[in-house]
């Protein structure tokens, strides 16, 4: 209701003497309250849960009576919940993450609060991030580096450990360089050679000679890698678990240590920031339940950008056609209904279409034409990031069309007529006057389309998303851009980790963090669109006459 008219009625709105229907007014108010509370509550929930997954918690050492005996469990509390026994009594139960999956198979234990005898927080406990078996919670005993043994009690223990961890990190990077890049290059060349030989473009003798050469290179690289690996195995970390078992980790397997109970608030914040950065920049480890989500971020962003590259020109052209060129008759009316309708078509139907049309029809056609030598292994005739982008651009097309049309119709008629009166041709008027004036509106549409596209998962499951992609769609291997590759996506990551993962409990923190990230991206895009739209409204309010 516009403000001018509702204002006078408001002055006696609540204070009117009539009580009739007043409870119903309050019922409608409760409806709005509930709606807004749901929206804000959900954001808050994700924010808290997602944020908490980064926060380093204190490690408790608990003495617990379990299964008749007494046991010492070290770990941090991840969840508190109520459980109801068959006899109807409520129990407070806590879920504790104790790590050390190499010592005991289940990393999470459920403890009834009644069974906890005592709790302490010894400062010496370390939370150790490892490449395998997830984190470990141990008390450091000693360090063996370059043949020297340094006891944990000595002052230089921490600094030597840190130096060792840093060098291990460097060595691992070297190893990755050799194994993935150089050896990968050789295997790619071998593959190409095999294809060329089969097609007859390279004679068999030449191919054999080259193959021998490559084999020699490969062996040389392998020897190099073995030397580096030797270096990694050199130093050891000795520790003791809370229940007194001795453990030894090769330093090469350790990613970092954090003395959780010793750290003060600022160190905790530092650790939290460190965890956030590694979440954003690292590759996933251990079936995606550890490590970061960088490939998923990269996949989501690339897919969304490529999608907007397709959807913007087509959506804008369609809208210009509908608004400026087509005769406003029955046909346009029907077309407009079907475009609006398209906005309501379930996203999974677009996925089905994308699979049938883009992947099998277009992609299969491209394979027949250009990649016949690789068949029956499909190159483009299989789900990939290009097809996913195209499918989503079709899905978001109505969003751009509707927004652009709205923006075009908001350009005052006078402006258009003035341009024509000055002698501009139709296209000139559109290009120089109408389009610049409606640019913010078009931008709003594109941003809304991106927000919709970034959050959509169901169609992607059919046209190109995978739980773990070995390589990114853009990298340093010629031809650098690989539109046929499968990709990872934040939304699918959530689904896959939460519902397909073998250890859903261990995956939960990553899932909440990923959900937070996705929501932040989507909400930011939406806010941007809303702000631009509001600016646009003001601008036209001034310029209309």
């Amino acid at each position: 209701m516009s403000s001018e008219l509702s204002k006078p009625s408001r002055s006696f709105a609540t204070t009117g003497r009539s009580r009739k229907g007043e409870p119903l007014v309050w019922l409608t108010a409760a409806g709005l309250t509930l709606g807004v509370a749901m929206a804000l509550g959900l954001f808050l929930l994700i924010l808290i849960k997602g944020g908490a997954s980064f926060w380093p918690r204190k490690i408790d050492v608990m003495e617990v009576t379990r299964n008749g005996g007494s046991e010492i469990i070290a770990g941090y509390v991840t969840q508190e919940k109520e459980r109801k026994d068959p006899d109807g009594t409520f129990h407070k139960e806590i879920q504790v993450f104790r790590g050390n999956r190499d010592l005991s198979p289940e990393a999470f234990v459920y403890i009834d609060e009644k069974d906890i005898q005592s709790v302490s927080n010894p400062e010496s406990l370390l939370l150790v991030e490892r490449l395998e078996y997830g984190p470990a919670i141990v008390e450091p005993v000693a360090l063996e580096a370059d043949g020297k043994r340094i006891e944990a009690s000595s002052g230089e223990f921490r600094s030597v450990l840190k130096a060792q961890l840093d060098s291990a990190k460097k060595i691992r990077a070297d190893l990755l360089e050799i194994e993935r890049k150089k050896i990968g290059k050789i295997s790619r060349e071998l593959e190409a050679l095999g294809r060329a030989e089969r097609s007859g473009s390279v004679p068999a003798t030449e191919a054999a000679a080259r193959r021998a050469e490559l084999q020699k290179d490969f062996e040389k690289l392998q020897a190099q890698a073995a030397v580096i690996r030797e270096k990694l195995a050199g130093s050891q970390f000795f520790g003791r678990s809370a229940d007194g078992r001795e453990v030894t980790f090769p330093i090469g397997n350790l990613l970092g240590v954090f003395a959780s109970n010793e750290a003060n608030f600022f160190e905790r914040v530092g650790e939290m920031l460190h965890r956030m950065t590694s979440f954003l920049t690292e590759d996933p480890r251990e079936a995606n339940t550890e490590g970061g989500v960088f490939p998923a971020i990269f996949g989501t962003v690339t897919m969304t950008l490529v999608m907007s590259l397709f959807v913007t020109p087509f959506g804008v052209i369609a809208a210009i056609y509908l608004r400026e060129y087509a005769k406003q008759g029955m046909l346009v009316k029907i077309v407009r209904i079907s475009v609006n309708n398209l906005a309501g078509v379930p996203s999974i139907v677009f996925g089905v279409f994308g699979l049938a049309f883009f992947v099998y029809f277009v992609g299969g056609g491209i394979d027949q034409w250009l990649f016949a030598d690789k068949l029956p292994t499909p190159t483009y005739g299989t789900p990939g990031i290009l097809w996913a982008s195209l499918t989503l651009s079709l899905l978001t097309l109505p969003v751009v069309i509707v927004a652009t049309e709205e923006a075009l119709s908001a350009v005052p008629r006078g402006v258009r007529e003035a341009a024509l009166a000055c002698g501009a041709s139709k296209w000139q008027a559109i290009q120089r006057v109408v389009l610049p004036a409606s640019l913010p509106g078009i931008l709003t549409g594109v941003i809304l389309a991106m927000a919709r596209g970034a959050g959509e998962v169901a169609p992607l499951m059919l046209v190109g998303v995978v739980k773990l992609a070995p390589s990114l769609p853009i990298d340093d291997i010629a031809p650098f851009v690989h539109p046929e590759r499968k990709f990872m996506h934040l939304g699918f990551h959530i689904y896959d980790l939460g519902f397909q993962s073998p250890d859903a409990e261990a995956a939960k923190p990553v899932v909440y963090a990923t959900a937070l990230l996705l929501i932040v991206v989507v909400v930011a895009l939406n806010l941007a669109a809303i702000i631009i739209r509001n600016r646009l409204k003001k601008r036209f309010a001034v310029s209309s006459f």
Partner: protein, 757 residues
């Protein structure tokens, strides 16, 4: 008239536009029209390409002649290789005749070890390509026919047939020659049923065979035991049939009775005896692929399918009639079962037809130009052969890609093998090769509608109440913040909602159903009570708050009431929802146990209640936004007139705004429906994905959309399963398209009506 020379003639060039501009203008005009129409075409391309994948499902089989062979051999046994290229004939002699279809070349191979023996009975098993033979001296045995393709240098790949004999077993009971035999083989367990003598004096024995696993090699076939079963047979035996699983034997008797025997490790036992055609004798009886169903043809040509199933209330699986097929005409009844699905070729006289047992549909019907006495479908189902008594053979190619599809299979009740009654069921893939796909879309459509219904039950009231308050009472400044908040809610990725529903909300609500029940009652009552009390407050206090702030005033009350209701839930549970353990008689207050006991339906953690609430996040903003627009656009002069006539603020809404905006609100509901029906990720993650057909709020469902998302990535391209999923997409598309079109038309009409007012 002459123009004065002084007045300057405007230079005509002034009005000329540069040619390039004109060209460019025309070019852009074309380009935009082309682009615009292209986009619209692309939109309709969706219909086309999805439809294209679905159409083949409804095509019947194509059958075309593909060669003929004429030779003198008697086609008592007709078999063929898996490519349908080289049929063989056997008529009880010691030789097998092979004829190549293409060249007409004829070869004869001698059956090893059969020289000088008198064969009196034989039977053919197409799956293992085994000819079982019975001898005049009462011995039974078999030989296998196998083909090998030899790839040669010149690109030809001739087939090389060979024969392998298996050991003989002597029948201990009965007198005279073996007069009928049948062989069932599942690989490990095998069974032979054989009849000696004829007339009333016949004896029938069942032999159980087993492979003794040797340390090296395939092992040795040995006799586990033989049982004479003549005593269990009411009349002369006319037909013996053994099933593929090497355990079941069906024996048809002259009096029209069929007796079912089971051979297992413990021996042979009679399980059942039944009369398929009211005691009229059978003309033909054959197992279908899978060995669970038998197709029987009666004396009058009527054809029925009998399947093994566990009748309700019975412990044992017995044969019962499940389907009737179209009747056959006069003449010898042909029967050939497919080796890959439940298709079979049947016919009588010259009439031939290909039928499918699941849907009972006739896939193809035709006339043969010879009078066939035997017929055969090859292993790939790509060809069938028929042979006349004089040895003439006709070969036909069959193209039937989706025999199990059809309107009845998708939308009708079908009596599947193993089921005790016809049902709607979706189960597209199974663990074994002989799995019968169950492709009814009804449970999925039901699931979609159920999910939508529960989502809307919660969303509609909240969204509409919020829309009314926002449009009628909320101050514009607040509205500028509230509306975008709701809009952002609509763009929340549904995968996040689904994940929260499945992993966060479901475990919480699982134990708190009574609390939820209390919330549903308490919250609206609190709001109504708050309103009632509010207007009884002194006017001085009420004047301090401006209208439109009720939604904030009611918040603390709602929070308090909600907190109280949440904690009162367990108390309510201990009062009402008491489960009594039938075994111990102990009483427990637990809703999760109480519900199944009280209603007889199930209780699942991921249920419609969780789904309905979480779907609210996706559906409420959609309905809210559109309904709010419709209410806000009610012309101001109408509401102002109502106010001026003395209507209070509720009366303005109730009598003016709601009726005027009714079609807009209806269209909002339609679009909300569309959004809920097509929602995928929440449905996948929060519903448990079991295709049920019950309205129980505490059970899950499997929706069309979730089904596509889960199954399509694994369906082989072009298979019936793949195309059926596309059909699901078409159904989904059609549902939302109809709803959206109605909504859009209504909205346009509303816009025009408001213009007039």
């Amino acid at each position: 008239m002459k123009t004065p020379e002084s007045s300057p003639i405007p230079d005509p060039k002034r009005f000329e536009v540069s040619r390039a501009t004109l060209w460019f203008d025309r070019f852009m005009g074309w380009a935009i029209c082309f682009g615009g129409i292209g986009v619209i075409l692309a939109v309709f391309g969706i219909f086309y390409f999805i439809g294209k994948e679905v159409v083949p499902l409804f095509r019947s089989a194509d059958v075309a002649p593909a060669g003929e062979v004429a030779q003198g051999a008697n086609p008592a046994v007709l078999g063929v290789d898996e490519w349908g290229e080289m049929p063989f004939f056997y008529d009880g002699a010691d030789k097998v005749v092979f004829v190549e279809v293409k060249s007409g070349q004829r070869r004869e191979l001698v059956v090893p070890g059969l020289a000088g023996l008198e064969v009196t009975a034989f039977a053919y098993d197409t799956v293992h390509r085994r000819v079982a033979i019975g001898l005049a001296d009462g011995r039974v045995g078999s030989f296998l026919v196998s083909y090998e393709r030899n790839y040669t240098e010149d690109g030809n790949a001739p087939l090389e047939p060979s024969l392998v004999a298996e050991p003989w077993f002597q029948l201990e009971n009965g007198e005279g020659p073996v007069t009928a035999i049948s062989y069932g083989d599942s690989g490990g367990a095998r069974v032979i049923a054989a009849k000696r003598g004829s007339g009333e004096a016949d004896t029938v024995s069942i032999l159980r065979l087993g492979m003794k696993k040797g340390l090296i090699g395939a092992g040795k076939l040995s006799l586990l035991g033989q049982t004479e079963i003549s005593a269990d047979l009411p009349a002369e035996t006319t037909m013996l049939r053994s099933s593929q699983n090497g355990a079941m034997v069906l024996i048809a008797c002259a009096n029209g009775e069929v007796v079912y025997f089971m051979a297992d490790a413990g021996g042979v036992s009679k399980r059942q005896s039944f009369r398929p055609f009211d005691g009229k004798p059978l003309r033909q009886m054959n197992f279908l692929f899978g060995g669970v169903s038998v197709v029987m043809t009666g004396a009058d040509g009527s054809q029925e399918q009998w399947s093994l199933f566990r009748p309700e209330g019975e412990g044992e699986r017995l044969f019962g009639e499940t389907k009737k097929f179209d009747s056959l005409g006069e003449g010898a009844v042909l029967f050939a079962a497919s080796q890959r699905n439940r298709t079979f070729l049947t016919g009588a006289g010259r009439e031939l037809s290909i039928r499918h047992s699941t849907s009972g549909a006739v896939r193809w019907k035709g006339q043969a130009d010879i009078v066939p006495v035997t017929a055969l479908l090859d292993a790939k189902g790509a060809h069938f052969l028929i042979a006349a008594a004089n040895g003439e053979v006709r070969r036909y190619s069959v193209h039937d890609h989706h025999p199990e599809a059809g309107w009845k299979a998708f939308f009708g009740k079908v009596w599947y093998e193993g089921g005790s009654k016809p049902v709607y069921q979706w189960q597209s893939t199974g663990g074994t090769d002989d799995f019968e796909p169950k492709l009814s879309l009804i449970p999925l459509i039901f699931g979609s509608l159920k999910g939508t219904a529960y989502a809307l039950i919660f969303s509609i009231p909240v969204a509409l109440l919020a829309a009314v308050f926002s449009a009628a009472y909320l101050s514009p400044d607040v509205k500028r913040v509230v509306k975008p908040t709701m809009e952002i809610m609509s763009s929340l990725p549904s995968v996040v909602l689904g994940f929260l529903a499945g992993l966060w909300l479901a475990p919480i609500l699982e134990m708190r159903v009574p609390s939820v029940l209390m919330l549903v009652i308490t919250l609206p009552l609190t709001a109504l009570l708050a309103g009632y009390l509010w207007c009884r407050l002194p006017i001085g206090i009420r004047n301090r708050f401006s209208g439109g702030s009720e939604w904030l005033l009611v918040l603390p009350m709602l929070v308090l009431a909600g907190y109280a209701a949440w904690n009162f839930g367990p108390v309510l549970e201990s009062w009402i929802f008491i489960y009594k353990d039938p075994a111990t008689g102990k009483e427990v207050a637990d809703f999760r146990l109480w519900w199944p006991q009280a209603t007889g339906t199930s209780y699942e953690q991921r249920n419609s209640l969780v789904l309905g609430f979480m779907m609210g996040f996706a559906v409420i903003p959609v309905i809210f936004t559109i309904a709010e627009d419709a209410l806000s656009n009610v012309p101001k002069n109408l509401t102002a007139a109502a106010s001026a006539l003395g209507a209070n603020r509720w009366q303005v809404v109730w009598t003016v705004m709601l009726p005027v905006a009714s079609s807009g609100i209806f269209s909002a509901l339609m679009i909300g429906f569309g959004r809920a029906v097509g929602e995928t990720m929440i449905m996948v993650m929060a519903t448990g994905n079991t295709p049920l057909t019950e309205w129980n709020i505490f059970s899950g469902m499997r929706t069309l959309s979730a089904n596509i998302a889960v199954e399509l990535p694994e369906a082989p391209v072009g298979s019936t399963h793949y195309r059926t999923l596309f059909l699901g997409a078409v159904v989904l598309f059609a549902m939302t398209f109809v709803m959206n079109t109605i909504a859009e038309v209504l909205r346009q009409r509303l816009r025009e009506r408001n213009k007039l007012v």
